[in-house]
Symmetry: D2
Subunit: 258 residues, 4 copies
């Protein structure tokens, strides 16, 4: 039987500032995307997150971003060359690899953060640059991708191991893209509704768009958020509903090799 992964963006404090309840989330998820210092995170938080993830059997991945601490990596930055995007991503992966090593852990995946991800989903150059960086640093790293996006296409072209991701609490457009956060109804808030929706996604290997269109896609991992009110409760319910319905949760780095 296939397993399913639950991932969350963690380690998103900076210096004296904290964000979210990482210890609680690390009891629920099976993979953590760790901020690498460009939109959030610093070397202390990276080590702490890697150690905690190691202790709890949670896989870790690099969560690279544009250089944008002030905007939390949510502001699209134009004008970067492909090479500049490659080095930016490689730098962040390497930094986390070193701290994972210090923690006795290992980086097994990469997931682009915020605006870098959004831009890459639609822009082949950006998507390819991220793929090139991952492949150049370590071709065994699993890239977490949005199905039907330029990121997935770039990952397939680069022949990287991919984990297809769905979002537990986000509405989808008919083209399988995420509905923009600025639109009404783009983010779901009810824990039970979210958990049932995730169960259907996993059972059907499909998402249902805002117009009720069924979009088939392989579902390797489910993203649950860690930084919103009620985040922990939602994530816990998603996990419980999946387990109650016979799904085994495990990091995708293990599941994909099964």
């Amino acid at each position: 039987m296939a397993t399913i992964d639950l991932n969350s963006d963690l380690g998103e404090g900076f210096g004296m500032w904290s964000m979210g309840d990482d210890p609680s989330m690390l009891d629920i998820v099976t993979s953590a995307n760790v901020a690498c210092g460009f939109h959030a995170g610093d070397s202390d938080i990276m080590l702490k997150t890697a150690k905690l993830a190691k202790d709890k059997g949670v896989s870790i991945g690099a969560h690279p971003s544009y250089r944008d601490l002030h905007g939390f990596g949510r502001r699209p930055v134009a004008g970067l060359t492909a090479s500049e995007i490659e080095t930016m991503v490689a730098y962040q992966i390497g930094a986390l690899q070193a701290l994972a090593t210090v923690a006795g852990h290992r980086v097994t995946h990469v997931k682009a953060h915020g605006a870098l991800s959004n831009v890459a989903c639609a822009d082949p150059m950006t998507a390819r640059a991220i793929a090139t960086a991952i492949k150049a640093v370590d071709r065994d790293l699993i890239w977490v991708v949005l199905p039907c996006s330029e990121i997935e296409r770039a990952g397939e072209a680069a022949n990287l191991p991919l984990a297809r991701e769905v979002f537990a609490d986000r509405a989808y457009e008919d083209d399988a893209s995420l509905m923009s956060r600025s639109k009404k109804g783009s983010v779901l808030h009810d824990a039970s509704a979210i958990a049932e929706r995730v169960l259907r996604m996993v059972n059907d290997q499909a998402v249902v768009s805002v117009t009720s269109k069924v979009i088939k896609m392989p579902v390797d991992t489910i993203c649950v958020h860690g930084d919103t009110p009620g985040a922990v409760a939602i994530a816990r319910q998603v996990r419980e509903v999946l387990e109650k319905n016979g799904h085994r949760l495990a990091p995708f780095d293990k599941s994909m090799k099964a």
Copy 2:
């Protein structure tokens, strides 16, 4: 016959700003200490420097610093815990390792930069924290150390491979420490005098202090500066005088394993 290494601090631009004549220096030195983004350097410059070093057969090392872009890492920062220093150093090493991998090169050494080095030379806690970081990331990394300093002691205690370094253009106190840059006569400027001085250091395996005290020490590598006027000419003359006198120059990572 033993070889001798020439090292220089390179890759010290940032974004649009450049510093020094790296391509010329990389024709002269055998090891480059590459800034990792905390006092200078960015991912683009790191990749470029790693590639150029690879092409020219020059070894590269991480040159970690305090977080101090504005002060170029020359301002001592107090109040950091040992763990904070460790993660700070590990982060920078890892970032360079990734970019070295992208360049087809490999990080073989570490040398603390500026104020971090100066503080660590006198402060055992800081020195040990750097040693701990290096060892945790990769225990085969060679640590470039100032003989007779706390850095050397911490390196020996950690059982790390060490490269003992002398400075071509800096005056020494009687305790083998570098004379402070704020004192008159602390920095030498005459290329011929510097080259002859380096030759004696290597031949005698000793430095001569300002009071003419001879301080015996193993000399594995000589630091030449790349960011001052006339830097390239001085470095070239140092190399020529050494070669003319029968010394073979080679990166210490190779020489130390011979």
Copy 3:
């Protein structure tokens, strides 16, 4: 009758990160020290804080720091020249002045933050540099100073308007300096004890040291913290006890001109 001021360090978030409960604190204090972007704060938070302070009749001051976002300005930075400290402080004051103007408010005081304050309390060069900066930008700015420190001496020498400050929840050494946070008992936590202690300070115009030594000093303003658990409750109790005992609270910029 003289009035007394209550001040607190506010606006200490950055980008997506928040710290403390500023709106509640602004209902209690009469002066706010606003972070200016070097240890915390950004232009959006500065404007928001200035507007809120304006609405609530709270005076605002610049809270300049070393360049140290990662360490929240709590790490002493050495190696700065007097001129570098001056420009660093002037820059931060000016930035807040502009945002205060946008908010329809006005910067009336300056208080050095964290490590910059601690260093300046003991180092005449640093204290004089801050005084020089304040005076050069606007000689009517009131400088909040620790009595008996180098900051107070520099302020008197510069003939700047001064507000003498005591700390509600911090233990004092016999020389009127604050007991280091690293020592046991340096920070008080009981709201009632803190409030009674503040009342005595104001009534007696004196602080009592850890050895029960009474140190006479003028008390113009009382610092209450806004970033610790229970901060709001402590601040509220301090205010209530003072008012119950016949003290009128008002910003020192007004009180000092009375």
Copy 4:
């Protein structure tokens, strides 16, 4: 007789890094746009530039940018709200005002830098946000604008004093916008050709586009660059040709009030 202003972007070093030959440029231009720390510049360089400008009778203006030290403010940043742009601009103006005051000088104009300027030329929201910031900080500040752009429209709508600017060495499209730097022929390099072209611009109060279309516009100030090879020589020749042909050079803050 009307005077004409020559402006240049100066103070664009950062910490240890320098850019351009500011002292030479300040002997030639009549107005300096001073970087305020977001794309370049720091408080030390700002003070130094303000002092030097004061000594040489050169007007100074704030040169605000996106937060983008790594990209030198040349990368368009999306996702900022109008309020975020306003505070970002106000912060930078205020910081320079304080340092100008320390230097005994005065900020008389504002000119948006790099990508912020390019975005604002085409995006009314961004242009209006800059106008709002300038007006809120000091409605007497002169805004340097590109004729026929959204910046000019926003300046007129806000009723701000405006200085219309032409670029000495940049090719123009038929709609009066600057030809993108990525296009061939967008930047002119021959000093004599540039100087003659500027003379015609001033005499005719018009620019000639790449298709030889004559676009009439008031010309209050001419931008000469300070950071390219030969920059000083080009700027000097522009000035000489203008003076030889009877034009008097003076800062626009004085000329506009004449």
